[in-house]
Symmetry: none
Subunit: 235 residues, 2 copies
């Protein structure tokens, strides 16, 4: 797979689940270090460098939050995804999503977790692809430099936010094809709920505004289904 260098730290006490997740991650080309309790987690985190951590919240010895705090002491940046039980109260869950961390409720499908991981890793990639020549995507009369977050039309340039650019890139990769809302949300946001859906609408509205100078480019809505990015992409 594409992220083949990435190293994932997994902390899950349920042996079966631990194995399944680990196996799946490895199938997908990640390097995985897996432990099964909070103390081993804290010790283990010292020994290596990880791109992302997946922590069960319920753990023997030290719970996931404690582990996370320890991890934060050593590394401010590494993203943490908590595995939470569905029964967790909402306010505790809310506490998680602040601080750049995220959570996923059990049970979840492996596909969900993989997408979530992908979205996180993408975010921590270098925003500019440093070395190579800048990649330009031609969208009708526009030039889109994803790495530089620039959308160019004639001599007018607009700097996009990271998420705007992510969404536009996703559309560029799937032109003239119906994308369901949930597909877009899972691939760009990493998860899917009602409010993220409304957020998507806000972004769509903004992209349409940015792209309105070329009448051939259309982000078409298919009611109750999703969107289709109608365009001719230059080579």
């Amino acid at each position: 797979m594409d992220f083949s260098g990435e190293h994932i730290f997994l902390v899950e006490d349920d042996q079966t689940l631990n194995f399944i997740i680990r196996d799946n991650l490895e199938q997908n080309g990640y390097k995985v270090t897996a432990v099964d309790d909070g103390q081993k987690a804290i010790d283990g985190f010292e020994k290596d460098k990880f791109s992302i951590c997946i922590l069960d919240v319920m753990l023997p010895k030290k719970d996931g939050f404690t582990v996370a705090r320890e991890i934060r002491k050593k590394d401010d940046h590494v993203p943490v995804i908590f595995l939470t039980a569905k029964s967790m109260t909402e306010d505790r869950i809310n506490g998680l999503s602040i601080g750049g961390d995220d959570y996923i409720t059990k049970p979840f499908s492996m596909e969900e977790l993989l997408l979530r991981i992908k979205v996180f890793l993408k975010r921590s990639q270098k925003p500019d692809n440093a070395d190579g020549p800048p990649v330009v995507r031609k969208i009708g009369a526009y030039n889109f430099y994803f790495e530089n977050l620039i959308l160019e039309h004639g001599d007018k340039r607009k700097t996009l936010t990271y998420k705007e650019a992510e969404l536009l890139k996703y559309f560029c990769e799937n032109p003239n094809k119906i994308l369901s809302r949930s597909e877009i949300l899972m691939n760009v946001w990493g998860s899917d709920d009602y409010y993220l859906g409304r957020s998507l609408d806000v972004f769509i509205s903004r992209l349409r505004r940015y792209l309105k100078d070329d009448p051939d480019i259309k982000i078409l809505n298919l009611h109750g289904i999703g969107f289709r990015f109608n365009t001719r992409l230059g080579k």
Copy 2:
């Protein structure tokens, strides 16, 4: 993807019925988790991920509505089919159909329930057949791209709604063959009553309009029986 991976959550307190439904669903390749009271339902829903829930309305401990509300708290998306007694007042039943849920009145045939489930699951599948080449159905002079909801004639393109496309697909799958009204309704709508029948007529009328440019295509009515989709389908 076929339905073999789909996991159904069944909540029914009548032991016999519980068994019958469960058995039938399993015969049809679904994975089933079945419980027999409201409390077990709420607990059980936590532990797994389901594609669809079937809830008896009359349950010991907590009734079906309460269970449904709990389920909604954990998962916005999963479709719920209620099993209701015939004696229920209409307004309570009406309450069900809002919110994307559906109901089926007891007694019902297993066939009915299976169709209903199929229709629901179909809806939640990805609307695009992943990355393969788009499937084109040739209907006389038309090209019909179900996955993209496009009906094409020469250079004229019409974007269909999801249900229009569903119905047209069903006709394409059964060309030159008598289809009873109830057969169509059960397969496309998932249920069959007087008003849905009128709805079908509205859709038929619309499809005829869309297809009127090729005189060889006819949606023929057989009075009191159903319809026949007369056409030559291209390869």
